[in-house]
């Protein structure tokens, strides 16, 4: 092999050796971050991600450390990715309120017991601290239009992941073939991609944002 | 008291057990039905007891057409007014004397004390009270006879029917039985005995002897 080709190869190899890996977002969120988090908590809590200026530096530090060095390559990578991608997110970490309801909680609009439909629970939090729980976004909006003042925030569960999400930034799908306890519903998603996938899978009609919801929108759902 | 009006009893294969019999038994009478086996005497007893119905004619006991009575009334009528002594006694060997004597009253579900009292009374009367708790199978022939008679009398019935009562007894026991009959007659019971035992034919306290042959009166 000629010298130039060899040099080229070395360049490629070394470049890829420590390059920031190109995994899809889903893969990272569903597999890599959970694993990285576990490794961090169990073995390598002493690694301070703020001390490193690049992903590569972080990764090589992990490889060289005594505690974490003995880990397999895949684990080291997971740890590095987790730490690197979350260091900026760390400050923005908010704790959204839990949407678990007790056996007595009833929806103020329709009167149904909420503990029977845990996946559909929506909540309005008012500035005076009062929280109202509903068995779906439709009833939540009905209540909101009747009491629009003094709102702190709206919450519901992302349809796919069941995590609590703030509705003001959510994507809502209308006209799908998935029905809630009150029939036709607005289905909430935390990002556009999952909303679009849902729209396609379940023959939804449209995706709207929170601010687009009007009384007419809700009224139409009941037709 | 007891009337048979033009009674005929015909069985399935055209066996004529009785042919156009008309009889009357007055209250307090002791009547002997005399005849050989198959002459119809048992059939007459059966009709009086209401255990079978006449094919033609009526059986009237104490003013009631008993062949027309529904089963429930016929049974309670029988229980309260008729005591039957069978040829083979038909006692239940594995039950005690007391239980056998009370057998007709079992369905009434009376209180224990009342049942015991009734039993005691009738067992005393027929001098078998000393064997109250003994199983019938452990009794002698004569003792069993007295239990059978006691059972027939548990409800103080107006009518006593006896079917060949002495057929399986020796002379001594037969005479004992006749003595009991005499006593019952003195209490104004209507007694009908079907028998071909000659001991019965010369008795002074017998009111009538009715002869039967082939289901007809002679």
């Amino acid at each position: 092999m000629s010298l130039s080709k060899l040099l080229f190869l070395v360049l490629i190899v070394s470049a890829n050796l420590f390059a920031y890996p190109n995994y899809s977002h889903s893969l990272k969120v569903k597999k890599i971050y959970p694993m990285g988090e576990k490794i961090f908590k169990k073995r390598c809590s002493q690694v301070d991600v703020a001390a490193y200026s690049s992903y590569d530096a972080l990764l090589s530090a992990i490889q060289k450390s005594t505690k974490c060095g003995s880990l397999k390559t895949a684990y080291q990578e997971a740890l590095a990715l987790y730490l690197w991608d979350h260091k900026s997110v760390k400050k923005r970490e908010t704790n959204y309120p839990s949407l678990d309801v007790d056996h007595k909680e009833k929806c103020p609009i329709c009167g149904m017991f909420l503990y029977k439909y845990p996946r559909w629970v929506a909540m309005i939090e008012y500035k005076d601290g009062k929280k109202y729980y509903f068995d779906g976004l439709k009833d939540m909006f009905k209540y909101y239009f009747l009491h629009p003042k003094g709102i702190e925030n709206f919450f519901s569960r992302d349809y796919y992941t069941q995590e609590t999400i703030p509705l003001k930034s959510a994507y809502l799908v209308l006209g799908s073939n998935v029905y809630g306890p009150m029939g036709n519903e607005l289905i909430p998603f935390k990002d556009k991609k999952s909303a679009e996938q849902f729209l396609f899978d379940h023959k939804g009609r449209s995706i709207i944002r929170f601010k687009d919801v009007t009384k007419a929108t809700v009224h139409k759902l009941d037709e | 008291m007891i009337k048979l009006e033009n009674v005929s009893k015909i069985y399935d294969e055209n066996i004529k057990a009785l042919q156009d019999i008309s009889l009357e038994f007055k209250e307090g009478e002791l009547v002997i039905l005399k005849g050989v086996s198959g002459s119809g005497k048992s059939t007459i007893l059966s009709l009086i007891a209401g255990l079978s119905k006449p094919t033609i004619g009526e059986v009237i006991v104490d003013g009631k057409k008993i062949s027309k009575l529904p089963d429930h009334f016929a049974a309670s009528y029988r229980r309260d007014n008729i005591g039957i002594v069978f040829q083979k006694y038909n006692l239940i060997p594995e039950l005690t004397v007391e239980e056998n004597v009370l057998l007709p009253l079992f369905p009434l579900n009376l209180k224990r004390e009342i049942m015991k009292e009734k039993a005691a009374r009738v067992l005393e009367k027929f001098t078998i009270a000393h064997k109250t708790g003994v199983m019938v199978r452990n009794l002698s022939g004569g003792e069993q006879q007295r239990v059978a008679i006691a059972r027939a009398n548990i409800n103080d019935p107006k009518i006593i029917l006896a079917d060949e009562p002495t057929a399986n007894l020796d002379e001594k026991l037969s005479r004992e039985f006749i003595a009991i009959l005499r006593e019952l007659k003195s209490k104004k019971r209507t007694i009908v005995v079907s028998t071909h035992d000659p001991l019965f034919f010369e008795l002074d306290f017998v009111d009538r002897v009715i002869n039967l042959e082939h289901g007809k009166l002679l």
Binding site: Y160, D201, H202 | S46, A49, L51, S76, I92, N109
Partner: protein, 391 residues
Amino acid sequence: MSKINFYLLEYAFSYIVRHKSKNIFIVTVFTLLVALLSSLFFVTSSVTHDLKERIAYKSDIFIQNYKAGMPAAINTKLLDRLLEIEGVTGGKVEVKGDYYFRAKDSNFYLYGVDAFEDQEDPLIAKLLQKYDLDDSEMLVSDNVQKIMSQAYYKEYFNFIKPDGSLQKVNIKDSFDVGERVELKNLVLLSKDTLRKIFGYRADEGSDITLSVANKNELEFISSKIRLMLPNAKVISKDELEQSYEKLFDYDNGVFLSLFIIAIFTFFIIIYDKANGLSSEEKREIGILKAIGWCVEDVLHAKFYEAALLSFFSFTLGFMIAFVYVFVLKAPLLGAIFTHENMLNIHDFTLGVHIDFSYILLIFLLSVPVYIAATLIPSWRVATLDADEVMR
């Protein structure tokens, strides 16, 4: 008929005793039939209950690759593809399987673990928290340790790989499986070591399991995956639960055969009974009528007679089955009941979980039928003229 007539009851009892041999036969057959069917139902109820409880430890979706109609290794890259599906919130590649230890004719259940993966099974999760397993170590259940040490493997064990060479793995410690008898022969070791033992490549596994946060989507996602992977077996937790409901259903061969035999035998008894009474029995009814019992009284006594026999037999049969299944744990015959569904009865603790609808069924099919079979001929006789008594 609100109060029990104890006199009639006593009469019925003495009647039963008077016909001892015939009634002993009836009671024996009746009892055995009830015991047989009850045992079957006890075993199946208990096993179904345990299976349903175990579903809690299973993942939402289970995917296994099939080749030529037989289970085959699955490619680990498939997991990455599946995680792209919206609604799938997690997943992992499993490496697990049975290892046959010929020397002691036992099967070990080898399960590959990864300390940094989510572990649904509470027993395994607890063990992984306690121990750190490296590639050369394994944890074995108490029973496996016993078997291994009987074969003189006390500190380590040599697994035979598909190519005939040996894989030595050190026994780090043993554990008690407690109530989880289905994990009696469990061995935990690292996935990579297990791959070597089973001859899986580094990019292969035995199956993939997925979690789906919103159970509403479970069916939809399962069908999506089936379209994606035509060769795979895709089982969702819902389907598993439904299949357990139908596991010991009426089309189960063992159930049907036993049931038919039992009904058959029982009806022979009924036929004999319903076909009429002997002349002696007729006579007795005649006597009762003669001394003043009405038809209703006779039937009342007959009812007690039939009820005493059938209730006694039923209760005895029930108790025998109860002791046989729940106390003695169904020795010998027990395996037949579960064999058809390819379940090993020893994988279950056979706790007392009785589905009373089955017991009620047996009761209704036997006791009232027997009582009716006794009453009907008695009624026929009792309504006839009882003048034979006079003969």
